[in-house]
Symmetry: C2
Subunit: 339 residues, 2 copies
DNA sequence: CTGAAAGCGCTTACAG
DNA sequence: CTGAAAGCGCTTACAG
């Protein structure tokens, strides 16, 4: 492999070829508004094109103290975060920002390492997408030399935050099941340490307690994924599982539950109803199709970048923005035989 | 919002505080191996810590002509690419590389724009993850000032490429269905323009033609997603659909087919078998669970970064690396009543 | 083991 | 409308 030429062609070469100063070349190349004689401008443009000039963003960033980039820290790349990422990327592109992506893979200790790395790269802003379970407080605005925006419920570090009203989502979900006649509920969740899952449960309980009729709730916690969910519900079915409405804290949990019920020959929705959160793209094509609360992941991502841009421009940003989830009713919740 | 202090604390401040030259400060701060007197080193480290020094990666990159970053262009953030991204991010982190991410959203014209943007940022290498349908040739190694690696089948632009043997995957899939007794096949696909989907079909045909017994294949093409897939199979069911083995070019297509069959009261796998590609995380929890060919997406991503690193170091990289998909047999393909 | 100095490629007051 | 020059914050031969 031949060594790549050590000297890149620079704005100085462009200036020389165009017969102008570097200052002028810089102006036509990057200050659209700056007044430059038309023919001078053209000469510079031609020279740049001929030489195949590719401006060096690091040099530019160094000179301007601005990198036109944003750092994004995310826990994983599951469907929920993938949707968020898609919203972030589109908005970043729209604003001419490059997106630096870092994943914590559930190790929230890595979050600070990622933020530090982004800071070395002098990103203009940082987007921190919650791993819902982290109780740790990240650095606050004082220790953060650039604007940061949080997406998803997480400890209040003092940055603007965008999140979904999961209490309301849980409330809506419970009300939907209740309206179909259900009074005996089960709630499937990994852990109360995950804000979103706890909020959904709290919302459910809130509705039930305000409904003014007797009800029961069986809590299944420590449920990690679809496999866990499957096992727990399969076990329950063998031991007189009397809940008729299973509210799963995610569609993936719901999927495990649906599979367990199917294998136990329990009909959905005739015998028991199942409902989840996230409205995974696949959920409408399950049989029975899965009722779910659709989360505004893409919107939160796009809004996060928008806020970041505003903050970078020195504009004010709402301290807390709360979006709502939407009920997508499907076959898994009704018509229910008991109703 | 108070204006952020315009002057960041620099290595010069660290040097001054430590009572050494900038050169020495630089050496202890970024050349671990460089011989520096122990106490001098400590003074620099202390000064840096006290001042809260955060090295400026743009300045560093400018001086070293190296950014320690890689650009990644991806079509979307669906589950397949999300897995790939996860592999890329982990490998990049392991090598101390920052990942810049750009999405084309299916608009392959944007690929070149992304590459150009990455080049301005002077990434050390570029990973181009195929949108399988693009026939356009990207820039070749001559027009690419940094190493590039392609992931996924795409036109040969001359860069090292890592891909999955989809012909073999199609072959394996067909053989699996054949071994269960199926002779009448259907293949569901968006379009032959997508290399992966065409290769899977070609592999299937190759197996069938070599099997030495009569067979039939009904081709469903132009099938875009699960909704399309549902409609097409629902239609077929109404019009004497005689294939017994439905091979879908992705699990999402398979999902639509499964739903259509369920709604038409056609039993899977008793009456017809269904099989897909991708082995989506959910496929094992469908009822019937879905047999699928598992793609090495994460591995391809990780390997891509590995190759990039080698190329950046000037080491040779295999021109073409072909990984294999794995058969994950589940209920949707058997035991089949006809066998 | 340490330092002075040139250089990386751009931008931007400042002066004309 | 244009240019000379200083500066952004680091690295690295070169010399000692």
């Amino acid at each position: 492999m031949p060594p790549r030429s050590t000297k890149e062609i620079s704005i100085r070469d462009v200036a020389r070829t165009a017969g102008v100063s570097v200052a002028t070349a810089s102006r036509v190349l990057s200050k659209a508004e700056y007044p430059v004689a038309a023919d001078t401008r053209q000469r510079v443009l031609d020279a740049a094109a001929t030489l195949g000039f590719v401006p060096n963003a690091m040099a530019r960033g160094l000179a301007r103290s601005r990198s036109d980039s944003v750092g994004v820290v995310m826990p994983w790349t599951n469907a929920y975060y993938a949707a968020m990422m898609s919203g972030i990327e589109a908005a970043a592109r729209a604003h001419g920002l490059t997106m630096l992506l870092g994943l914590t893979n559930g190790d929230e200790g890595r979050r600070e390492a990622l933020v530090a790395a982004f800071l070395e790269r002098r990103v203009d802003g940082i987007l921190i997408c919650a791993a819902a379970h982290d109780q740790r407080l990240g650095r606050g605005p004082e220790e953060m030399p650039v604007p940061a925006v949080l997406i998803g419920r997480q400890p209040d570090a003092g940055h603007p935050i965008i999140r979904t009203d999961n209490v309301a989502a849980g409330h809506t979900a419970a009300r939907h099941l209740w309206s179909l006649g259900h009074r005996r509920f089960a709630y499937l969740t990994p852990d109360d340490a995950w804000y979103d899952f706890r909020d959904r449960r709290v919302g459910m309980m809130g509705f039930l307690e305000s409904a003014g009729e007797p009800f029961s709730v069986e809590l299944f916690d420590g449920v990690r994924g679809e496999t866990d969910s499957y096992r727990r519900i399969a076990d329950a079915c063998r031991n007189g599982f009397d809940a008729t409405a299973i509210l799963a804290s995610t569609d993936r949990h719901a999927l495990g539950a649906l599979a367990a019920l199917a294998d136990a020959r329990i009909l959905v929705p005739e015998d028991k109803a199942v409902m989840g959160f996230d409205n995974y793209i696949t959920s409408g094509f399950l049989r029975p199709s899965l009722t779910s609360m659709s989360m505004p992941a893409t919107e939160m991502g796009a809004l996060g970048v928008e806020y970041l841009r505003q903050a970078i421009n020195g504009d004010a940003v709402p301290k807390e923005t709360i979006l709502q989830a939407a009920l997508i009713a499907r076959q898994s919740t009704g018509p229910w035989r008991g109703a």
